[in-house]
């Protein structure tokens, strides 16, 4: 513990490190256990499912810190970094994508909560942003793996009236399907954000603390 004596200089810093470590461990444990099973079984949209858990954990950590006279800035990003560092313990395939996804979700939530005071709607917006990360990441991975040509083909399939025929779908069914996935992901993200807000309030009330 020699390092902690040099690093921790005040109770506030100790609390910040503790909250980040514990909530990062919770998210890391969820990713290593449940996430590994979902990834191994190739369950569709497993990334979005795990994102919901991550959103709730990050937002509860943020509000826990905010309730103790700290603004909690940077906490969500730090929780994501701790979870990402723990992920290589899970020896399943596709870890690198999961690590990138976790960090991107943490950045999105941190960005949404950086400005202004914490509020329920702000948490919902943060949830929506984070829930859209797996979809954006899918497009980005397509571009990285197959070059920009893959993106233009994707755009053709979505926007052209005959594009859906390439996938065996009529008209613009492909675009409608993708739109529905975006809407469902957004709703899921906002629900997780609001649940994170109310869960943090319940936890703080149970502990006798006043939620901000």
């Amino acid at each position: 513990m020699e390092d902690s004596t040099n690093t921790i200089r005040s109770p506030a810093q100790a609390q910040w490190v503790a909250v980040v470590a514990v909530f990062g461990a919770v998210w890391g444990a969820a990713e290593i256990s449940l996430g590994a099973i979902l990834r191994s079984a190739s369950i569709p949209m497993h990334g979005t499912l795990m994102t919901g858990i991550g959103i709730i954990i990050m937002l509860v950590a943020r509000r826990t810190l905010a309730s103790s006279n700290q603004r909690g800035r940077g906490a969500c990003l730090a929780v994501g970094v701790v979870a990402a560092v723990m992920l290589p313990m899970s020896v399943t395939r596709g870890i690198e994508r999961a690590v990138i996804g976790i960090l991107a979700e943490a950045v999105c939530i941190e960005f949404a909560l950086w400005f202004g005071r914490p509020a329920r709607w702000r948490y919902a917006v943060a949830g929506v942003l984070a829930a859209l990360v797996p979809l954006v990441q899918l497009l980005a991975m397509l571009a990285v793996q197959y070059g920009p040509g893959a993106l233009s083909s994707f755009r053709t399939i979505l926007l052209d009236k005959q594009g859906g025929a390439k996938l065996g779908l009529a008209g613009q069914a492909a675009g409608t399907l993708v739109g529905m996935v975006v809407v469902v992901s957004s709703v899921y993200g906002s629900v997780c954000g609001i649940f994170g807000w109310s869960l943090a309030r319940r936890i703080l009330q149970r502990l006798g603390r006043e939620p901000e």
Binding site: A14, A25, V81, V85
Partner: protein
């Protein structure tokens, strides 16, 4: 008695080290080569060794509900539907090869969990903190080191909360309400754990004060 307990501790430590050395590479190789179920034999043997020698240290790994969940969520679907098309030799569902693939996936998941518990429980926080501190800052490096060591504590919180809920009737009635209770309880325990960790960090901050206490005791007891 003391010698016996130290011997058993040594045997457990040895079992952990050997299991970690076998499980890690075996699982990694078996994960990279999905179409060779025989590669999972070392991982399965290491799991059996853990079960025989060190079962009490890994209650999460030998939980009947985990095994039931793996059977329902992993083995049965792969056996019925077949293996994913991304593997080199996809099998259609219903046959012996599909069953072998499903069992292989379950062993892989168990081995992954075992590696996580083995590594998570025996990493030196100071070493990890020093190493990561160079890249991501001292505070975040320390948080990563502590977080990695807290994995067993986090799983223990989940186990205790589930047990408490089961003692109060479990999920037989009011499932949604009970699930909300479980999540809240886990959250409360987690926040309490953060308070304990913060207190431990503050205690470690002032080693001079701690060192002064034992020195004063012999003086008091002296005639």
């Amino acid at each position: 008695m003391v010698a016996g307990s130290s011997n058993s501790t040594k045997a457990r430590t040895r079992a952990r080290i050997i299991a970690a050395l076998v499980l890690g590479p075996a699982t990694l190789i078996a994960t990279l080569m999905l179409d060779w179920p025989a590669l999972l034999v070392p991982a399965a043997l290491a799991l059996v060794m853990l079960a025989v020698l060190d079962r009490r240290q890994f209650p999460a790994l030998f939980n009947k509900w985990l095994w039931l969940g793996l059977t329902i969520a992993v083995v049965l679907p792969i056996w019925l539907i077949g293996t994913p098309g991304e593997t080199d030799a996809p099998h259609s569902g219903g046959g012996t090869p599909a069953m072998t693939a499903g069992l292989g996936m379950a062993v892989r998941v168990l081995a992954t969990l075992a590696v996580m518990l083995l590594i998570g429980g025996c990493i030196a926080p100071a070493a990890v903190s020093r190493f990561l501190g160079r890249f991501i800052g001292k505070k975040l490096g320390l948080a990563c080191a502590i977080g990695t060591n807290l994995l067993p504590a986090v799983l223990e919180i989940l186990r205790r909360s589930t047990l408490a809920l089961r003692l109060r009737g479990g999920f037989r009635r009011h499932r949604l309400k009970n699930l909300r209770r479980l999540v809240t309880t886990v959250g409360v325990q987690t926040v309490r754990l953060t308070e304990d960790v913060a207190e431990a960090l503050l205690l470690a901050q002032a080693p001079g004060q701690q060192a002064a206490e034992p020195e004063s005791k012999p003086e008091e007891s002296a005639p």
